[in-house]
């Protein structure tokens, strides 16, 4: 039995599992239009799937069932008879599906009587007689015969896992058992607590790897989700007299199990729509000046924590406003007014997952269907935060930085305007107070020093989220929210915390949209205060970038603007440009945050803005200064580029509001470049148990000019090759050092005497964390998400090492 058929049987079985309850309720109350609509969608999805196979009986029955429900909604009909007839049809479909599962083909016989009786029920509603007659029909009897296949049992979801992955999991499970035995022996014997601690650390590491391996087993490649669509294109296009070239992009992207079925179904339906209604016949295409073969592109990408799937074609497109309610216009023209129903089905499934379905059409040139689903629906890491007395989870991939809001931290919240602003290092970001946004009850004992702001990056959005405190990071398995009376996009799901209580997982993009930064509708739970118009708006300096587009920065962040001569611009050893600010060289960037480039044609006409603060600054090369404007209160839309945190209109032009934090972050990396002479590269040993943290920080440190060796534990750092002895600076997860202080002492002993430096990593550099670090003789602490702070700490330690070396 081929894979497509297996998928069909599994999906149909799932559909009927969900039909059971609806059918029972439909029988009790056939007047309920909502149940009828649900049933219609379900039977329509079966009908759509049947179209891929030569199952004539199933197709006829699905058509009959759909027609029955359609007549129920259109003319009211004889309701009881229709309900009964529909149930019989569903029962027959189920029996045939069971037969196909067992024998790979439809059973012999026909269903004309059933379909005719259904028609009769629609017409004159001889409900009771029809029901009785149906029960005694020969076709039904044959299907119920003792030799027939057993009915399909209720299925659990299944998926393929490679034997390599299974072997990995088994190997790790064995290793775990072995470590447990060693730990028990150490605790019962005389090896002492140091040995037990070491075994405990190993146990934790293997448990984490087992967890990762189990999670990876849930992942499937996108190419597998797109396979049925490829086969469909091969089969359907010739039968329609069309020629199609299919392109698949992002096939290697891994999709988690809860999303896989939605993605697979969506790709099939989108492809079916494109082949049936979008792509024209070769003659028609040639007359429209297009190549005879239609182009169909299926692409997947990961964007801002979302899985985004595009299916686009270069067909006829469709008229605006015809997407869901009335079906795609191309379908309507073809006499298929219900083509939009499949899209409705996908849209409702995407909605249920906290995602969205968007349609873009260029009449005569093609259409693109974009499915966006939050990846955080599965296993992920999250930052647990407190808002008032409640705990929420923020997906880790969306957290760019965590800042303390303690008075001495330098970050401050400006709540005077209609939208609170976080000011930090000369930059400003729109800010949401999570407790206020969600109406969380206040904390019993508020701790002002614990307040923090998470800098959130969600797609093109950037904003700050103020929280009462940061509780730390957790591995979570996020689940979709149960069905609720009020749907809220602010949450992408829920997960059980380590204590067993549920916590809501925030949807960073939806929160940004609720703040008015995105394109989505504001949530009803957003307090009116944030939407109200009010007094003075922040002012921005608008300028024309070197690319010609208008851009803006908060006026308060612009230190000065001056016209430069070539002699004012310095070129460093790595061909990076820099300008002098208060006697120091600072990197010169363009408005995209990249190192600036000088065009010879512009000689003598450069204008540089010095932006930032005295502590962190950079130069920004611009074409011309446009003027100072007031930032609009309401109409800031999401930017389409990473370097901007919003877009607003000025006259007939759009102005990108640049992300100052991003610019300064790039500048911080650039400053290290300026100082690095290439001959004295600092060697950093990075110790963290989490692969994602190691990768993230290694990239940042390498970009800052460090040579980085990343290992997953103290044992690896103190191993046979003893990399710890060769490094200048150790950057270690504080929890690892605390768990194995003996190992930490060994590593410190192996380093080059007292000269070696250390920096402790923690989720959030609180005063408690600093105290714990000091107890291990680690002078510096940095948050795992606060990459600029980590790089600053590395620079300080590097400078200290240089001073020590000079003194020696």
């Amino acid at each position: 039995m081929n894979e497509l058929l297996q998928d069909f049987l599994r999906d149909t079985s799932d559909v009927f599992d969900s039909l059971d309850d609806q059918l029972a309720r439909f029988a009790l109350d056939p007047t309920d239009q909502r149940i009828a609509a649900d049933l219609f969608r379900l039977i329509h999805s079966v009908k759509s799937a049947v179209g891929f196979f030569d199952f004539a009986r199933l197709e006829a029955l699905a058509n009959a069932g759909e027609a029955m429900l359609a007549s129920l909604s259109s003319d009211g009909g004889e309701i009881a008879g229709l309900a009964s007839g529909f149930q019989e049809i569903c029962g027959r479909i189920r029996q045939i599906v069971s037969y196909i599962a067992a024998f790979g083909a439809e059973p012999p016989g026909g269903d004309e009587e059933l379909i005719a009786l259904g028609d009769a029920a629609r017409a004159s509603a001889k409900a009771a007689a029809a029901h009785e007659a149906i029960a005694h029909m020969p076709g039904a009897a044959a299907l119920r015969s003792p030799g027939g296949p057993p009915p399909l049992e209720r299925r659990t979801q299944t998926q393929r896992v490679s034997t390599v992955t299974l072997d990995d999991i088994l190997g790790l499970a064995c290793e775990l058992a072995l470590l447990r035995s060693q730990l028990t022996a150490a605790l019962e014997g005389s090896a002492g607590p140091a040995a037990a601690t070491r075994h405990m650390q190993d146990l934790s590491r293997v448990a984490a790897r087992l967890h990762d391996a189990a999670l990876k087993a849930r992942l499937q490649s996108f190419s597998r989700a797109a396979e049925p669509a490829g086969r469909l294109a091969q089969k359907l296009a010739p039968s329609l007299g069309k020629s199609t070239e299919l392109t698949l992009e992002g096939g290697g992207l891994l999709v988690d199990r809860p999303l896989f079925d939605v993605v697979r179904k969506a790709v099939i339906i989108f492809t079916h729509n494109a082949l049936t209604h979008g792509i024209e016949a070769p003659d028609e295409r040639l007359s429209a000046g297009k190549p005879p073969a239609g182009q169909l592109r299926i692409a997947a990408r990961s964007e801002g924590g979302d899985l985004v799937v595009d299916v686009s074609d270069d067909g006829c497109g469709f008229a605006e406003g015809a997407h869901f309610a009335a079906g795609i216009s191309g379908a309507a023209q073809a006499g298929l007014p219900r083509a939009g129903l499949s899209l409705l089905l996908i849209r409702s499934e995407a909605d249920a997952c906290g995602g969205s379905l968007q349609i873009a059409s260029r009449p005569g040139r093609g259409a693109t269907l974009t499915l966006r689903l939050p990846e955080a629906l599965s296993l992920t890491q999250a930052v647990a935060v407190r808002a008032g007395s409640e705990t929420y989870l923020v997906p880790k991939h969306a957290v760019f930085q965590i800042l303390s809001l303690a008075p001495e931290s330098g970050a401050s919240a400006d709540t005077g305007g209609p939208l609170p602003i976080l000011r930090h290092a000369g930059g400003a970001l729109p800010m949401a107070d999570l407790a206020g946004l969600l109406g969380a009850p206040p904390q019993p004992t508020p701790g002002a020093d614990d307040r923090a702001a998470l800098i959130i990056r969600a797609g093109a959005l950037g904003y700050a989220l103020a929280v009462s405190s940061v509780a730390g990071m957790q591995d979570i398995i996020a689940r979709p929210l149960p069905k609720l009376p009020e749907f809220s996009r602010l949450f992408s799901g829920a997960a059980l915390l380590s204590g067993g209580s549920p916590a809501l997982v925030l949807n960073p993009a939806a929160i940004g949209a609720a703040l008015g930064l995105g394109c989505g509708p504001a949530s009803p739970v957003l307090p009116a205060r944030n939407r109200a118009a009010a007094a003075p708006q922040p002012r921005v300096l608008v300028f024309r970038s070197c690319g010609g587009a208008l851009a803006a920065l908060p006026l308060s962040a612009v230190l000065r603007a001056e016209r430069l001569r070539r002699s004012d611009i310095f070129t460093t050893g790595k061909d990076r440009l820099a300008v002098k600010l208060d006697g120091k060289l600072v990197p010169l960037l363009d408005s995209a945050g990249a190192p600036a480039q000088l065009a010879a044609a512009d000689a003598g006409s450069w204008i540089a803005l010095a932006v930032g603060s005295q502590r962190a600054a950079c130069g920004l090369l611009v074409n011309a200064v446009h003027g100072v404007e007031e930032l609009p209160a309401q109409n800031i839309a999401a930017a389409q580029s990473k370097e901007a945190c919003g877009v607003f209109a000025l006259g007939n032009e759009s102005v990108r509001l640049l992300d100052l934090g991003g610019l300064l972050h790039n500048a911080a990396l650039g400053r290290l470049d300026l100082e690095d002479d290439g001959a004295n590269q600092v060697r950093v040993l990075l110790i963290d148990a989490e692969a994602i943290t190691r990768d993230m920080l290694r990239l940042a440190l390498e970009a800052a000019g460090c040579a980085v060796l990343a290992v997953d534990g103290l044992a690896a750092a103190c191993g046979e090759t003893a990399p710890g002895a060769l490094c200048d600076i150790v950057v270690i997860d504080l929890a690892l050092a605390l768990a194995d202080d003996a190992g930490w002492a060994r590593l410190r002993g192996a380093q080059a005497g007292a000269a070696a430096a250390a920096i402790a990593l923690c989720a959030f550099a609180s005063s408690a964390a600093r105290q714990q670090a000091r107890s291990l003789r680690i002078a510096e602490t940095a948050g795992k998400f606060d990459r600029p702070a980590l790089i600053e700490a590395v620079r300080r330690q590097q400078a200290r090492l240089k001073r020590q070396a000079a003194a020696a």
């Binding site: 969380a440 149960p482 609720l484 009376p485 009020e486 602010l490 059980l496 549920p502 739970v525």
Partner: protein, 162 residues
């Protein structure tokens, strides 16, 4: 005759009782209700509930229903009755579909004589047309039978079963 148990009924006993076919009697908002026992997964003491922002007041929040995350509905609020205080909602009645009811008391579970089903279906109330499936004629008077499917059926326009 029906005897309503006191709120102090231990959860374990309630669990066992709910296993019996028939009806489980509940108390909420100072009134008694019957719920088909077949629809009940288990009964336990009401534990920690995570608030769900933006939901109507009858939605108390999310709870850990033996490893699954489910919605907890305050039965009294759902029915427009005066709810007991937070400390007086003693029991969680877990239903299928990731849904559970918070109630003040859990009484007996017992098989119902068909003669006791006095007048089904129940009179339809405009605000909650589908929550009640019928009446039971008991020593305490008419007890409304709750429809478990309708209790957990939320539409997007408002409250459960509205």
């Amino acid at each position: 005759m029906i005897r309503l148990a006191q709120p102090e009924l231990p959860p374990a006993a309630a669990d066992a009782a709910a296993d019996a076919a028939g009806m489980l009697f509940l108390g909420a908002g100072g009134r008694h209700f019957a719920l088909p026992a077949a629809a009940i997964l288990y009964v336990c003491a009401l534990g920690e509930v995570t608030r769900l922002p933006g939901q109507p007041p009858e939605i108390l929040g999310l709870a850990n229903l033996r490893g699954r995350i489910g919605v907890v509905i305050c039965l009294a609020r759902l029915l427009g009755l005066e709810p007991a205080g937070a400390g007086q909602r003693h029991f969680l009645v877990a239903l299928g579909g990731g849904c559970a009811l918070a109630v003040a008391t859990v009484g007996d579970a017992r098989r119902i004589d068909p003669l006791e089903r006095a007048c089904a279906p129940a009179p339809q109330r405009p605000a909650r047309p589908r929550v009640f499936a019928g009446w039971l004629d008991t020593a305490l008077g008419l007890v409304e039978i709750l429809d478990p499917a309708a209790l957990c059926d939320f539409d997007t326009s408002g409250s459960a079963a509205a």
